[in-house]
């Protein structure tokens, strides 16, 4: 029988990075995200007996992040932060690529939470639409619509940016 402490340590090692990512993209602030993650794991420890199946641990932790975020920071919404000031670093991204991803990060941060959150759950959490619907407590069709609109907005922003870049390049070569 594996002890409660061992099971908890495994849960920290395996999931803390994803829990942090989810917390950051929800609250848009690094130090708030750190506090959220620590608070989430403390709550998880206090209510560990509620976790019956380790397979759903990620969804369980993400749900606690949401609840904690609502409890602590619902009233405080930071302004959209300047991505260059946050010292964000994406794994496996070379410095040359960083500009491209930091623009993408800015686009993601600019999405409304209702569109941003299901997309984060899908791409960071790896959850299905049904699982997202359970975590967010909204209908599955609503999740599908929000995922559609999130990608639609991002695609448009990325396309607009590359068009204006091409135009700029064209303008420079003309002059």
């Amino acid at each position: 029988m594996v002890s409660k402490q061992k099971r908890f340590d495994v849960l920290v090692n395996a999931l803390y990075a994803d829990v942090y990512r989810y917390a950051f993209w929800v609250c848009k602030n690094q130090s708030m995200a750190e506090d959220l993650v620590q608070e989430t794991y403390l709550r998880a420890w206090k209510n560990f007996e509620n976790l019956k199946d380790e397979k759903v641990a990620k969804a369980w932790l993400f749900t606690i992040v949401r609840r904690e975020n609502a409890r602590k920071y619902e009233r405080f919404q930071p302004d959209v932060i300047n991505i260059d000031e946050t010292n964000l670093s994406a794994e496996g991204v070379s410095p040359a690529d960083h500009g491209e991803y930091s623009l993408m990060q800015k686009h993601i941060l600019n999405l409304d939470l209702e569109f941003r959150e299901p997309l984060i759950l899908q791409l960071v959490g790896g959850f299905s639409a049904q699982e997202i619907s359970n975590i967010l407590q909204v209908k599955k069709n609503t999740v599908l619509t929000r995922l559609f609109r999130a990608r639609n907005q991002l695609k448009k922003l990325v396309t607009d940016h590359s068009v204006s870049k091409k135009r700029q390049a064209g303008g420079l070569s003309d002059g």
């Binding site: 402490q5 340590d9 750190e34 403390l42 670093s89 794994e91 991204v93 791409l123 559609f148």
Partner: protein, 232 residues
């Protein structure tokens, strides 16, 4: 699946594995490009979302949890000790013989713990001094400088007291160091069985055990520990 549905599905989940979606995707080059374009967007989004958490966040989470556990145990201990003190007063009247069943039991528990978590001897975590000190600070101690290559670092529970469990690289094999700041011992005791040998000694307000394979010169590490550790 009609064209509108197909496009909607592609935006909802471009990695969708439904047969009708795949069929529609393979129907034309245009459809294929349409999906691949969104798959590329997803790839870029995943990269952008994949931010690095702060280096010592996992240690800080474990530290907070350890402190919380510590407080709970303390509260329980206070209640129990109040109840127990009544019994102790009674027992003192019955016998003046010193009660020291704790000692041999503790040595046995340390060895059992090492065998129970034998996998830790072979981990390759390569922990930094900073990570070690983050965990130690929750137990009221710090290391001034490195005591060697630390291949495992975690917290543990022995005799219902929380402690720090480390594995340090030795000459013969891995050496286990267990610090139990809440479990005092009066003097140094040897620990030994068929495979391991070591000792448990007083350290700060509690105790510290150093256990290695037979033939391991433990004195070196023991000296380093005593030189480098200080209690806050």
């Amino acid at each position: 699946m009609d064209d509108l549905e197909f496009r909607r599905q592609a935006y909802t989940d471009p990695e969708c594995k439904d047969l009708s979606f795949i069929k529609q995707k393979n129907k034309s080059v245009e459809n294929k490009n349409y999906v691949e374009d969104l798959q590329l967007l997803d790839e870029n989004l995943k990269h952008a979302m994949n931010i690095q958490p702060p280096e010592d966040l996992a240690e800080r989470i474990k530290l907070k949890q350890t402190l919380l556990h510590h407080q709970d145990t303390r509260k329980r201990t206070v209640l129990w000790s109040m109840a127990a003190s009544v019994l102790i007063v009674f027992a003192v009247f019955i016998t003046l013989q010193p009660v020291n069943m704790h000692k041999s039991n503790l040595e046995q528990q340390l060895l059992s713990h090492i065998y129970h978590e034998i996998d830790h001897l072979y981990e390759q975590q390569n922990r930094s001094l900073k990570q070690v000190n983050t965990l130690l600070s929750g137990f009221g101690s710090q290391l001034n400088s490195s005591i060697g290559s630390i291949s495992y670092l975690g917290s543990c529970e022995i005799a219902e007291r929380r402690g720090v469990h480390m594995v340090v690289e030795g000459n013969v094999g891995p050496i286990t160091v267990i610090m139990l700041p809440d479990l005092p011992v009066n003097s140094q005791h040897m620990i030994s069985d068929k495979r391991f040998k070591g000792l448990i000694m007083p350290a700060g307000k509690g105790s510290m055990a150093v256990v290695g394979e037979k033939g391991e010169p433990l004195e070196l590490l023991q000296e380093k520990l005593l030189e480098n550790i200080h209690w806050i």
